[in-house]
């Protein structure tokens, strides 16, 4: 049955005709407190990670590590590979400000130890202090992961409290590409050591039409 109002079809054939917005929430996953990875796999648990959307957005919210000062990081895989070891070329820089205002660790700089030309997990945020109120939050965009022609560009930014004394606010910016032409179907998030004591990851698709 269609719903027609003032001669305008609002819904029909099981779908809305009216615009419901172009940022579509796909999935929210929450750590059970002892997970070492949090993965989003196309076709599992209602997850869509294919050509349905041309841009995907991932927001990680208050991801709190069990370890003292690990990095938060991600990797991806095509359908046939959940080993999360794709070739990545990336850049990484960050701004910092120390809580005591002394300027001792203030700055803007490139971090050659956090960028990558390799197949490891890509760092999104480093030295995250696991104080009770410490966590990392940020956003990652992946462009056209379904392409079988182009490398897969990604861009991210994050914010956290770094393990220093006094503590430091850290704002990383990451850009790069997954240097494969195979379509991507899976993505994995983790801390470089320890567990995800608490973590929420939200996945969105941005409509193409």
């Amino acid at each position: 049955m269609a719903i027609i109002s003032n001669a305008v079809t609002i819904a029909d054939a099981g779908a809305f005709s009216a615009s419901l917005g172009s940022l579509v929430h796909i999935k929210t996953i929450t750590s059970n407190g002892s997970q070492t990875t949090m993965n989003l796999v196309h076709g599992s648990g209602g997850i869509v990670f294919d050509g349905t959307y041309s841009v995907y957005r991932f927001d990680w919210v208050d991801c709190h590590p069990s370890a003292t000062d690990p990095s938060f990081e991600f990797q991806v895989g095509p359908a046939s590979n959940t080993s999360y070891n794709q070739a990545i070329v990336s850049t990484f820089f960050q701004t910092q400000k120390m809580e005591d205002g002394t300027g001792a660790q203030d700055g803007l700089g490139y971090l050659a130890s956090y960028d990558q030309v390799g197949t490891g997990y890509q760092k999104l945020n480093g030295n995250i202090k696991n104080d009770n109120d410490g966590a990392t939050t940020g956003s990652l965009f992946i462009f056209n992961p379904n392409s079988t022609t182009y490398v897969k560009h990604f861009m991210a930014q994050a914010i956290s409290m770094e393990n220093a004394n006094p503590r430091v606010v850290t704002n990383p910016w990451i850009g790069g590409y997954v240097n494969v032409t195979a379509a991507l179907r899976t993505i994995s998030f983790r801390f470089s050591s320890g567990e995800l004591d608490a973590a929420t990851i939200k996945m969105y698709g941005i409509k193409s039409s």
Partner: protein, 216 residues
């Protein structure tokens, strides 16, 4: 006919009620390049809205691929009533880059390609490679283009492949993360934007215009 549930109007008069959450990001128009010299969003043409309907506009680039190797991607604007895409712009550019052989990697201000009250193409990338798997992706955010009081701020972040295996650059490919921020120095409303490479056509790629949130 209206649809009312538990006292709440969900739709009426041919539209969802304004109280129904529909998300605040609205796809306005998708352009697909096919050896196109430029791609433009013109308010009022081809269903494009670029006015005070939205306070913020986001334009996304998805695998924009140049016909010519080693050429920069850029944008320009028109104020309402203008047609020459030569608005006055002042902007900054900085880059974060990494070569596929891991050297060099750097963060640096780019002073060579910026506009200082310039009216030319505002470049938002370094030269882009055109090997089969090379392209540019990213987004530019344009704030309150319909203002007739303030200049128009914009922030652009793109990632692209730097040309590889060419005579004038490194033999290895690079990832280039380019940040271009600035303002269109006019108090007139902006209602047109175009994108192009400095040389050659946009061989392929998608550019999408979104509106964000309510009117300004």
């Amino acid at each position: 006919m209206g649809v009312i549930s538990n006292g709440t109007t969900l739709l009426d008069a041919g539209a969802l009620d304004s109280g129904v959450p529909t998300g605040k990001l609205t796809l306005i128009k998708t352009l697909t390049a096919s050896s196109s010299s430029t791609l433009s969003f013109i308010d009022g043409a081809a269903s494009v809205v670029l006015d005070d309907t939205y306070g913020v506009y986001i334009i996304k680039f998805i695998n924009v691929h140049p016909q010519t190797n080693d050429t920069q991607f850029g944008m320009q604007f028109n104020a309402a009533g203008a047609a020459d895409f030569n608005e006055t712009i002042t902007n900054t550019i900085f880059k974060s880059r990494q070569e596929e052989d891991a050297s060099p990697a750097e963060l640096a201000l780019d002073v060579g390609g910026v506009l200082s009250q310039g009216t030319g193409l505002c470049k938002i990338s370094h030269p882009v490679g055109n090997l089969a798997n090379e392209a540019l992706s990213g987004h530019v955010t344009l704030y309150n283009p319909s203002s007739t009081t303030f200049l128009k701020n914009f922030i652009s972040v793109v990632n692209h492949s730097y040309p590889s295996a060419t005579a004038d650059v490194d033999a290895n490919g690079q990832t280039m993360n380019i940040f271009t921020n600035g303002y269109i120095n006019t108090a007139s409303a902006i209602d047109e934007v175009k994108f192009q490479f400095v040389s050659g056509n946009i061989e392929s790629g998608t550019i999408q215009l979104f509106g964000l949130g309510a009117s300004a």
